[in-house]
């Protein structure tokens, strides 16, 4: 059985663990560097990106996470996770991991009263539309070569991307009952190289 760690410094990690367990993988929380050993994949959940980023530094997770990213390790980041995986982030007081060639804007849609739900077309997972839950969400401002944008809002704004084995989502599949994006991530974990 594949082992998927979910970074559990702060945020909605329990929801990811519950969804992953429904897909028959071993999923558990990660809070310290030694817990990263012998994983097959990692999820960086939604939460407050500054809080998660600071705790990553305080407990020496930056270096091991960066080296995992460089090795092409499968990682999925949702919302705050997308922010932390990006190379450049506007309005973030700390350095993100910089693992994906993305430029991301935080709180890009406004404050909480502007948080929204909308259906997304995501060709990588096919029909039907995926219900996207956007909470004080970021969006993608620019992608580098080698990054595929997987989903866009009707106005063209990128809200999901894949680069190699890394997946970044601006919204929260863990707040829905739809397992397809987690399944898609597990197909990456299982060695599917298709973008």
């Amino acid at each position: 059985m594949k082992k998927i760690g979910v970074l559990a410094l702060q945020g909605a990690f329990v929801e990811h663990i519950a969804l992953l367990r429904r897909l028959d993988v071993e999923a558990f929380p990660i809070r310290l560097p030694q817990e990263l050993e012998s994983l097959d994949g990692l999820v960086i959940p939604g939460g407050e990106s500054t809080t998660i980023g600071k705790l990553m530094r305080e407990y020496d997770l930056m270096a091991p996470l960066s080296s995992l990213c460089n090795e092409g390790f499968p990682i999925m980041g949702t919302c705050a996770g997308m922010i932390l995986l990006a190379k450049r982030v506007s309005d973030l007081s700390l350095e993100p991991l910089g693992a994906m060639d993305l430029e991301v804007r935080r709180n890009a849609f406004g404050r909480q009263v502007d948080s929204f739900e909308t259906d997304l077309e995501i060709p990588a997972i096919g029909e039907p539309l995926f219900h996207g839950v956007f909470i004080r969400a970021p969006f993608i401002e620019r992608v580098g070569d080698g990054v595929a944008v997987l989903a866009r809002l009707p106005n063209g704004t990128g809200v999901a991307a894949r680069q190699g084995n890394m997946l970044a989502l601006a919204f929260h599949p863990e707040l829905t009952d739809d397992l397809r994006l987690h399944s898609y991530f597990l197909s990456i974990v299982n060695g599917d190289k298709n973008q």
Partner: protein, 293 residues
Amino acid sequence: MDKGTWTVKAGLAQMLKGGVIMDVVTAEQAKIAEEAGACAVMALERVPADIRAAGGVARMADPSVILAIIETVSIPVMAKCRIGHFVEAQALEALGVDFVDESEVLTPADESHHIWKHDFKVPFVCGCRDLGEALRRIGEGAAMIRTKGEAGTGNIVEAVRHMRAVRDEIRKLGSMTTDELVAEAKALGAPLELVIEVHKTGGLPVVNFAAGGVATPADAALMMQLGAEGVFVGSGIFKSSDPEIMAKAIVKATTHYRDPAIIAEVSKGLGVAMPGLDIRTIPEENLLSPRGW
């Protein structure tokens, strides 16, 4: 695009889990809180310990204080309105706060009714002392619950009492047969459909934090081990002798709440915690937690 839905309101509370929400009264304090790793700040004119000391009527904070804090930090900003004062809540929503706390720490504006929170796009958090109170607030539209504790005392005893009461009643509901739930809903004073939901799921339908009396990292971890999904710290940070160090230590203890070695480590050399109050020495009319109906 649907805005202000139940999913995005309750969802923001889910994103705050495992975090510390800190009371702040100035933009400078808000910055310190954000730097220390707070997952949100509560913008206030005075922390509860000072509200308690000042007496008189405590109201919504001056919007200029709230706006200064909103402009300074990028984490979510919460603000308090009086119980039942739906116009203060409307004003807070218009200011762009991310969460409204309909709070017993302020002087209630209505002694029979809370705000009908479903009418708002902004999510609400409300206090509770037991499961019935929690479910009444959720029925009115609260997207997040916090156990009340006794704010401004630096004494964790009431927070523990309220968290245990909620947990015990949830366990009790879980062990009941379906035909017992109507009488229990009546006894709790809670909406039947929510009582049935708790009976089925074994938990509250929204996120539950602890509040009211958290003054040390060990207090925060205690509440987490008792089942809180995060903590509010009011006077405990900026009434301590070294707020920056205390704030960081409470954040770490909340993340690593099951790791005694880390809790011991972060508890070293914190300076003086806020001066505490023995609840039994507070005259009954000065208690905050019985406010709410």
